[in-house]
């Protein structure tokens, strides 16, 4: 009887919490998502949240139920039964098999599905990747340097002289990530681990000295650092005292605005050299 009442309360509470969870889910629990991979992250996040809510409610309800229903008052000495139940086939069976099933579910979806999807997006031979905008990203202590080899730009800067990344919307970008200090090539300890992260893109990739890593991604929203500060390149792996300031604004613009910006940067570069 007790178990049935518990079960009903559990289902009702789970439904209420699921309903409440629609609020963050409809407002993007990741705050701001502006890339194709970010959308995959958001969907996976929402799915896991929805599946976990009944589990969370079950365990917490178990604790609250215990404190309310099975509590003995101070000094009270209840008669113990001759034998206590030490197992329950149903409870143990459902729990053990249930937890295996839930975990296998997560392994299949979103883990395997999203990861396979991600693998496919990252294939260099994938059609959308063959005409990508290439950006060489160099991480050094403590600066992100962006070069656009297709446009012969060695280092792009904004009006304040900060390194800056600007990209066209809805076009795949090929980021070539390296950790390497072009100004201190004699010091082998100057190349440390950095991590390329754009909070609004939902992805980060460590940048390891001695390795070249490639990330294909497609920005899906026209945005700028001024519009939303999650639109920034941020070092996510501690890399020494300058780590907090190892960031660069990211602007995503329309194709025509991008061409305009490239021309401007090219003019800037030729005038300074």
């Amino acid at each position: 009887m007790e178990s049935i009442v518990f079960g009903i309360v559990w289902i009702v509470l789970s439904a209420i919490v699921e309903w409440l969870a629609r609020i963050p889910i409809s407002h993007d629990p990741l705050y701001y998502t502006a890339s194709n991979i970010g959308l995959m992250v958001e969907h996976a996040f929402d799915f896991i949240l929805v599946v976990l809510i009944p589990i969370f409610v079950f365990v917490v309800l178990g604790f609250v139920w215990t404190m309310v229903r099975f509590r003995v008052k101070k000094g009270e000495k209840p008669q113990l039964p001759k034998h206590w139940a030490r197992s329950n086939r149903w409870f143990v069976g459902v729990w053990v098999i249930g937890s295996v099933v839930v975990n296998l579910l997560f392994v299949l979806h979103p883990t395997t599905t999203a990861t396979e999807h991600f693998f496919a997006l990252e294939q260099p031979s994938a059609p959308q990747n063959r005409h990508a905008v290439v950006v060489d990203v160099t991480a050094r202590q403590w600066e992100w340097i962006f070069s656009y080899p297709q446009y012969h730009l060695t280092q792009t800067l904004n009006a304040n002289g900060q390194d800056m990344l600007e990209l066209p919307v809805n076009r795949t970008v090929k980021l070539v990530l390296r950790s390497y200090d072009p100004f201190h090539t004699y010091d082998q300890y100057a190349d440390v681990i950095h991590s390329f992260w754009v909070p609004s893109w939902g992805i980060k990739e460590d940048v390891i000295p001695g390795e070249t890593r490639i990330l294909y991604i497609k920005p899906t929203k026209i945005t700028s650092f001024a519009q939303n500060p999650m639109s920034r390149v941020q070092c996510a792996e501690v890399c020494g005292p300058g780590h907090p300031w190892m960031e660069a604004p990211l602007n995503v613009v329309s194709a025509s605005a991008f061409q305009h910006w490239i021309a401007q940067q090219q003019a800037l570069q030729s005038s300074s050299s």
């Binding site: 969370f56 990861t115 100057a190 000295p209 941020q234 501690v238």
Partner: protein
């Protein structure tokens, strides 16, 4: 054997043969001498004369000298070194008084309290450092720290002390040493002398890490990532050395616990009857024995990389190797913290519910499988570093480890169901701990998913996640264990009102602080930053306020515990009507734990109206024991 040690006949002339200086003070003095001697020895052979008096290499070897001086000074000289070389030693172990806690001892109960005291000290120091960090994070630019490397050093000191001298120490060295031998009906541990020395490595390690800024800042955090560590000033050397001392101590604890549980169980204490907490110690002990040597070897390489340098971990060598070697240890480390906690939940729940432990075999299977799987999940710390094809198996095992973890919850909930639950302070703290760990575990499901991990990795989501799993488990359950065993260890009872009041306060402020970390992480707050974009400032400010209140709640608990220890009401020998053997001896237990060798005659977790008493001491033996103690004087009780 050990019996002769406790014969108190030598107590009258004890004082006359004592060293004139208090052992801890002598330890510091000998440590200073040891440092100078070894440091100068290095200076003499240094081919580059004209260096400063203390250099990286000389400080490293000087530290070894200091450690030797410290260990000998606190009592290993008379207790171990002199007898080992065949010299007469007048050393007699103290059996009464507070002074025995401040010198070398072979009594596992004294050692256990020394470990607990060190862990508490480490917790207060590292907690204070955490509050400095939170103070800094109240604003988006540098305020109380003048340089970012100072802040990063504070982050490293906080993490290192908390992990290696609190989380790895409180339940293993502390309650492991004190309780496990009594819980298995043993009258001592397997390696009392080794254990007596190892406990003094903990204060040495804490002080080494705490004073690492003397040699310079280090910016790597508790993981000591290379090649950044080799680029840092020499403070990083004291990180490696302090951690070497602390991990060695943990290794010796594991060796002692596993051996004691295997070979010194009371008659009738079968593996099927073994207390859950002892099961936790065996499984954790095996984890420690496997993985601690691995990280020690890695840190030796890191130290040499810094001193020589070798280019093991630069782009010339292999940068990724350090990360892999660190996390091969790093994830089992998390379960070294959590497994004894799972065990303790199911130790305390049946006692407080006055009900037989539900699904005991599943609870044990859970501990064993968490131990086994913990070595297969480590690369999930490196999803941002892995080729795509390597990610899936680690994501699989990471998700699977929640299954055996869940068994601890299944047993706990099953035990409480329809029980007669006494909501005492330890029980309340256990429930809170299970709630916190649930949050920690469920937020870990998001992190285990590779695609979500690529966004959440290295953000405050991760920081929130591991503070929920670590504080939520070890600190809440550690406090539960202190309250649960306080009557046994001190013979006195805490105040139920203050215990519960402080537990609820702690719970509210803990959740107020760390639940917001998840939102900060989602909103783009990254780790290891004393300065951050301005839009994150309001929530950080709020978090800091909760963090300060949380600090007060911890201090409140410590004050209450110390008050109860000294001034609390007298407690009966078995206030909880528990069935495990530690409750079948006086409070606090005598030097040899039990008057005679007890025998375990029935299950320890089966409650019921007609259950026989679980621990048996034959009348004849008890009489003999009474005669013995009548001849030899009273057993010391304080």
């Amino acid at each position: 054997m050990a019996q002769t040690l406790s014969t108190p006949s030598s107590s009258p002339d004890l004082k006359t043969h004592r060293a004139s200086m208090p052992p801890v003070l002598r330890g510091f003095l000998w440590a200073a001498v040891g440092f100078l001697v070894f440091n100068m020895a290095v200076d003499i052979v240094d081919p580059f004369r004209g260096h400063p008096f203390v250099t990286g290499p000389s400080a490293t070897l000087g530290w070894v000298g200091a450690l030797l001086g410290w260990l000998l000074g606190v009592g290993a000289f008379e207790g171990v070194a002199l007898p080992l070389f065949g010299y007469p030693s007048r050393w007699r172990e103290r059996t009464v008084g507070w002074r025995r806690y401040f010198e070398y001892s072979t009594d596992h109960k004294v050692i256990g309290l020394q470990y607990l005291g060190s862990a508490m000290g480490g917790f207060l120091i590292a907690g204070l450092v955490a509050l400095l960090m939170r103070w800094e994070l109240m604003s988006d630019h540098l305020t109380i720290f003048h340089y970012p490397s100072n802040y990063l050093t504070a982050v490293g000191i906080h993490g290192t002390i908390m992990m290696f001298s609190v989380a790895n120490v409180a339940l293993l060295g502390g309650f492991g040493n004190y309780m496990v031998p009594i819980m298995i009906g043993s009258r001592g541990t397997a390696f009392p002398k080794l254990s007596g020395i190892s406990v003094w490595l903990v204060p040495a390690g804490i002080l080494t890490v705490l004073f690492s800024p003397l040699l310079g800042a280090w910016t790597t955090g508790w993981r000591g990532y290379q090649p950044l560590a080799s680029q840092d000033p020499n403070g990083i050397l004291f990180y490696y050395l302090g951690v070497a001392a602390l991990t060695t101590s943990t290794f010796i604890v594991a060796l002692n616990m596993v051996t004691t549980i295997m070979f010194r169980r009371a008659p009738g204490m079968t593996w099927g009857r073994l207390p859950l907490f002892a099961w936790g110690q065996v499984t954790v002990g095996l984890l420690v024995l496997i993985w601690i040597p691995e990280i020690q070897a890695t840190f030796v390489m890191g130290l040499l990389e810094k001193l020589v340098p070798f280019n093991f971990f630069t782009a010339t060598g292999s940068v990724l190797s350090y990360l892999e070697l660190f996390w091969i240890f790093g994830h089992p480390e998390v379960y070294m913290i959590a497994v004894p906690v799972f065990a303790l939940w199911n130790e305390i729940i049946p006692v407080m519910s006055q009900k037989s432990l539900f699904a005991r075999e599943w609870a044990v299977i859970g501990l064993v499988f968490v131990m086994l799987l913990s070595g297969l999940v480590w690369a999930h710390h490196l999803f941002t570093n892995m080729r795509n094809s390597e990610i899936l198996p680690f994501a699989f095992f990471t998700e699977m480890i929640s299954i055996p973890t869940g068994f601890a919850y299944m047993a706990g909930i099953g035990t409480m169901w329809k029980g007669h639950v006494r909501l005492t302070t330890p029980m309340l703290l256990v429930l809170m701990s299970m709630f916190n760990f649930l949050i920690g575990g469920l937020t870990g499901v998001f992190l285990a998913d590779p695609i979500v991990n690529l966004q959440l990795h290295d953000t405050f989501w991760v920081v929130g996640h591991f503070h929920y799993t670590v504080i939520g488990s070890i600190v809440f359950t550690g406090l539960a264990a202190v309250y649960y065993w306080l009557p046994k260890m001190s013979g006195r009872m805490y105040s139920e009102f203050w215990g519960k009041f402080l537990a609820i306060t702690l719970f509210i402020f803990f959740n107020g602080t760390f639940s917001q970390f998840f939102l900060l992480g989602l909103h783009g707050m990254n780790r290891w930053v004393p300065a951050y974009p301005a839009y994150l400032q309001p929530m950080n400010f709020e978090v800091s306020i909760f963090a300060f209140l949380l600090g007060f709640a911890f201090v409140g608990h410590f004050v209450h515990i110390i008050w109860a220890w000294r001034k609390g009401a007298k407690a009966p020998d078995n206030p909880w009507q528990a069935r495990t053997p530690e409750w079948f001896t006086s409070s606090p237990p005598p030097r040899e734990n039990f008057p005679v060798q007890p025998e375990i005659v029935s299950s320890l977790y089966i409650y019921g109206a007609e259950q026989p008493v679980s621990v048996h001491m034959s009348a004849e033996q008890e009489l003999a024991a009474a005669r013995d103690s009548g001849e030899g004087g009273e057993y010391p009780h304080g």
